[in-house]
């Protein structure tokens, strides 16, 4: 009996990825038949380019959701970090220094979130909701609501430059994705991220500085959101205080679609990246097929709903979710 359960569960572990992979392939085949343009390299580079931003932001979100937390401030952080980079460059600072400042601003909001959530034991939902408003407010105040545009070429390179036939955002997404997978699965930080979501009290009693690790996780999310801000700002050659609007919801959707458990303790970087690609491919496909964008919203919403229903049914049988029957 235990053998069967273990087998089922280990299969379950890979379940989301296998399912996502199948859906990706089926959709690609369908879209290929619907439009000869879909399977061209130009179109695929386009899909990858469009998905890169979401991938980068969702990586940090995966860590946060693995701790059973949530970060609603990532869209606002992306806007603030872009604004900081723009202001720094217009104040005459070098491109490199400006980027560092923007990333530091994003990380700072992450640290702020993390400290409030970990040390004061406040609800992640409320803290990051407030942080979203505060961060967006600061971005609006700094710009007086007016977009800032016109940056040096070696800044816009980060959004629309070329490395071979790929763009820097795609390469950043790949590199950060590899790094995130390595950290989550093979380092103490990753182990503690998952343990925080599984049983934080057990982690505390094992003598781990659990609050510090929790703060680090929110800092990572702030940092990846800031990298997202770099991508948006450099690509559009404009720092918009309203950039990244609702980006947090797309990121949360991608993470959940990728099989990470909202209750924490279980998560997959591969799943998150695949889910981002799925969403990107879907948007692209629906556009190619000339389906109005209202239907895109509807379709994406329904897919996320279906994913959550499947994941919930599957996790009912997973350990740590109460309903499992134990021998003796």
């Amino acid at each position: 009996m235990q053998q069967i359960k273990r087998w089922l569960w280990s299969w379950n572990e890979q379940f989301s990825q296998i399912l996502l992979g199948l859906i990706l392939i089926i959709m690609a085949v369908l879209l290929h038949h619907a439009s000869p343009f879909f399977m061209t390299w130009d179109n695929w580079r386009n899909i990858l380019d469009q998905s890169a931003l979401l991938v980068i932001v969702s990586l940090g979100m995966t860590f946060v959701i693995c701790t059973s937390g949530i970060d609603l401030s990532v869209g606002a952080i992306a806007a603030l970090s872009g604004v900081c980079m723009a202001l720094a460059m217009h104040a005459g600072l070098s491109v490199e220094l400006s980027i560092c400042l923007g990333l530091a601003a994003g990380a700072a909001v992450g640290v702020f979130n993390g400290l409030l959530i970990a040390k004061l034991n406040l609800s992640p939902f409320i803290v990051t909701l407030a942080a979203m408003s505060v961060t967006r407010g600061i971005a609006l105040i700094l710009t007086k609501g007016i977009p800032i545009y016109g940056f040096p070429v070696n800044f816009t390179w980060w959004g629309s430059g070329h490395i071979g036939s790929l763009n820097p955002p795609i390469l950043m997404a790949v590199l950060l994705g590899l790094l995130a997978a390595l950290v989550l699965n093979r380092t103490k930080l990753g182990y503690y991220t998952l343990a925080l979501g599984g049983n934080e009290e057990a982690l505390r009693r094992s003598g781990v500085a659990h609050k510090t690790y929790k703060t680090i996780v929110y800092t990572i999310s702030g940092l990846t959101a800031a990298v997202g801000g770099l991508v948006i700002t450099a690509r559009l050659n404009t720092a918009e205080p309203l950039a990244g609007w609702m980006l947090e919801l797309d990121a949360i959707a991608a993470v959940v679609l990728g099989g990470t458990d909202m209750k924490g303790g279980r998560g997959s970087i591969t799943g998150t990246i695949m889910a981002c690609l799925l969403l990107g491919m879907l948007r692209n496909g629906l556009t190619i097929l000339n389906i109005p964008s209202y239907y895109q919203q509807l379709t994406i919403g329904l897919i996320i709903l279906a994913a959550i229903i499947i994941s919930e049914l599957r996790l009912r049988n997973a350990p740590g979710h109460g309903t499992i029957t134990k021998e003796d």
């Binding site: 273990r6 390595l182 094992s206 003598g207 740590g320 499992i324």
Partner: protein, 262 residues
């Protein structure tokens, strides 16, 4: 008897703790010796768990101190307690159900190489060695502990305490959720640990088990130690009387005498 002549590994002294109006512990002092099994008994709410949680660093005492290795501490943190060699097998086992056996055994003490990457292979090897030594049969170390049986889960918690490498190991109600066979195994295990020179502290409601293993019994009632006695000098019913407070403690002479002199 041999143990008593040596210095205690851990000495708790005049510990007090109250939660609002409720006194959980009142002036509790106790010595813990190497190579000995010490049982802490008492009715529900007598303060047993509070006492061991102070040793584990999970609860802070209001006053008093804990002395380990000639150093006195007003309180311990979980990190400090583990560092000082005090490991605890909690009643709820403190396991992360969705993580696998290896991750749980090494929780907080992961082996790394290059100062960064978790060394799975070395952890699996050591985990297997410890589990084999404890005679706990877990086919796959990659199984999430939420899927294991009660006895196996307890085994994982004990293995973690042993991996922590301390010389004092505390068991909180280790046999409470166990069948006869598994209880016998845990009892044998505690005896082996004591024989290997560790100090074993066990909280139990089961006086039959207490008399089977303990050399000394510490009786708590209403947050106070009413007796610390040699198990061989007492009958179970006398201990029950001490726990219940049926025998007046001040007149019969056994209760006031805290540490058996002979």
């Amino acid at each position: 008897m041999v143990a008593k002549t040596s210095n205690p590994l851990v000495r708790v002294s005049h510990l007090n703790k109250s939660y609002g109006n409720i006194t959980a512990l009142l002036d509790v002092s106790l010595d813990i010796y190497a190579g000995e099994i010490l049982a802490i008994v008492g009715d529900n709410g007598a303060g047993k768990s509070t006492l061991i949680k102070m040793l584990a660093g999970v609860v802070k005492p209001d006053s008093g101190y804990i002395k380990v290795r000639e150093q006195t501490y007003p309180y311990l943190s979980p990190t400090k307690a583990i560092h000082l060699g005090i490991s605890t097998v909690y009643q709820d086992l403190a396991l992360v159900d969705c993580r696998d056996v290896v991750s749980n055994i090494f929780l907080g003490r992961e082996l790394v190489y290059g100062g960064l990457m978790v060394d799975r292979r070395r952890m699996e090897k050591q985990a297997r060695q410890v589990l084999d030594k404890l005679q706990i049969n877990i086919p796959s170390l990659k199984t999430p502990v939420g899927l294991l049986s009660g006895g196996q889960r307890q085994g994982v918690a004990v293995a973690r305490a042993i991996i922590q490498g301390g010389n004092v190991i505390i068991f909180d109600e280790p046999t409470a959720a166990m069948g006869v066979q598994e209880s016998a195994k845990v009892i044998r295990l505690m005896q082996e640990l004591a024989r290997a020179g560790m100090a074993v502290v066990v909280i139990s409601h089961n006086l039959h088990h207490v008399f089977e293993i303990a050399e000394r019994i510490c009786v708590l009632r209403h947050g106070q130690i009413v007796a610390v006695c040699k198990a061989s000098d007492y009958q179970p019913n006398q201990i029950v009387e001490l726990i219940m407070g049926v025998t007046p403690i001040t007149t019969d002479g056994i209760g006031v005498q805290k540490d058996a002199a002979n």
